[in-house]
Symmetry: C2
DNA sequence: TAAAACAAGTACGTCAGCGTATGGATATTG
DNA sequence: CAATATCCATACGCTGACGTACTTGTTTTA
């Protein structure tokens, strides 16, 4: 019964987070100011104090996602050490476990019809791929082979998110750890 | 200047196809009757003659997609013969080449927030996977390994569609043919 | 504690999109 | 060629969503 936040007054971030959940649940088109207002139990008077208009919210939304995802990748880079092959598995495990990555499909769907969102998605993709490629390099593959394997692995993880969303993380994790070995296996 | 069709009068299918293009270009939320009417250069009077309401169009849309995709898979099954390993590559090539599969991401994005669409997507996924699994079985892998490889391959192809859409088919084809070998390589 | 800054409420105008009703136009068929 | 079935246009009412203008309430801070 007791709300987590005191929720006396809202901040810009309150709206962004609410928008995020709505994006995840219903898609970007349903991220509408009056709808969010209802969810947050205020009127749009609040919204238009924090944002110039709807497009400003959307911009803030994609930038927020970009920052979070960038943090995630960099965090990861510092988190795991030791055996490169094990680091690859750890990284995948981390990706699947991380709450934040669940927003990926929704953001991608959005980016598919919005150039601005698309730019950020491409940025994040690039960052992630760079990171994965380095992992394979560390594991002993030459540059070309590293890129091929990194891409395959990355695309696989993406695709996996589109088909198996009803399955539990535990199941997904077990499978991914197994499959990663195929990607790691020497050519 | 000369229209392909005489376009004197429209049919149900005219609307469905137009809806499909719009779904692809702008997402399901933009599939609106007045918008389609404008595209087809008629008024909604036409639409409401062919369809009871918007939801009937959407239903027809996803059913149409289902039929087309089912046809595509079955066609493929009959098209390629001989060396199972080569058939795997041929199948992938076929998937990427086929005009129809380009609608996949848009349909999936839709399915993500629409249970009815979701049901059909799952149906198509199942059909495709069954087909791919059989391919790997024919190539000599045991049932369990066949499923693992088929899924990996399928997810990879899906994921690939989400990242490299700006690249030409030719480029995608060359890469896929190369990468398929990793999936085919014996464990 | 009064003033300033901050946050939210209220009321309104506008527009796009859905669906209905009804009449007009064009094929098709007897 | 007249009658019927098919297809489309026009006009309307309704709703939800955007954004604006203005007011009201609540914290901070001087």
């Amino acid at each position: 019964m007791s709300e987590k936040q005191k929720t006396k007054r809202l901040t810009r971030l309150s709206w962004i987070k609410c928008a995020f959940d709505t994006l995840y649940e219903d898609g970007i088109e349903q991220v509408r100011v009056e709808r969010l207002a209802k969810k947050l139990k205020v009127t749009k008077g609040s919204f238009y104090w924090h944002f110039k208009d709807r497009s400003e919210l959307l911009e803030a939304l994609i930038e927020y996602w970009n920052e979070e995802m960038t943090k995630t990748v960099l965090q990861n880079a510092e988190m795991f050490h030791g055996d490169p092959q094990k680091r690859i598995v750890s990284t995948l495990t981390y990706i699947v476990s991380n709450e934040r990555t669940k927003y990926d499909p929704a953001v991608r769907a959005w980016a598919n019809h919005d150039p601005k969102a698309k730019k950020y998605v491409e940025k994040v993709d690039k960052l992630r791929l760079t990171f994965l490629i380095a992992l394979f390099s560390d594991a002993g593959f030459d540059p070309e082979e590293s890129e091929i394997r990194a891409r395959m692995l990355y695309y696989y993880v993406l695709g996996e998110a589109y088909v198996t969303r009803k399955e539990s993380r535990a199941v997904r994790l077990r499978r991914i750890e197994n499959k990663a070995r195929i990607f790691i296996a020497p050519s």
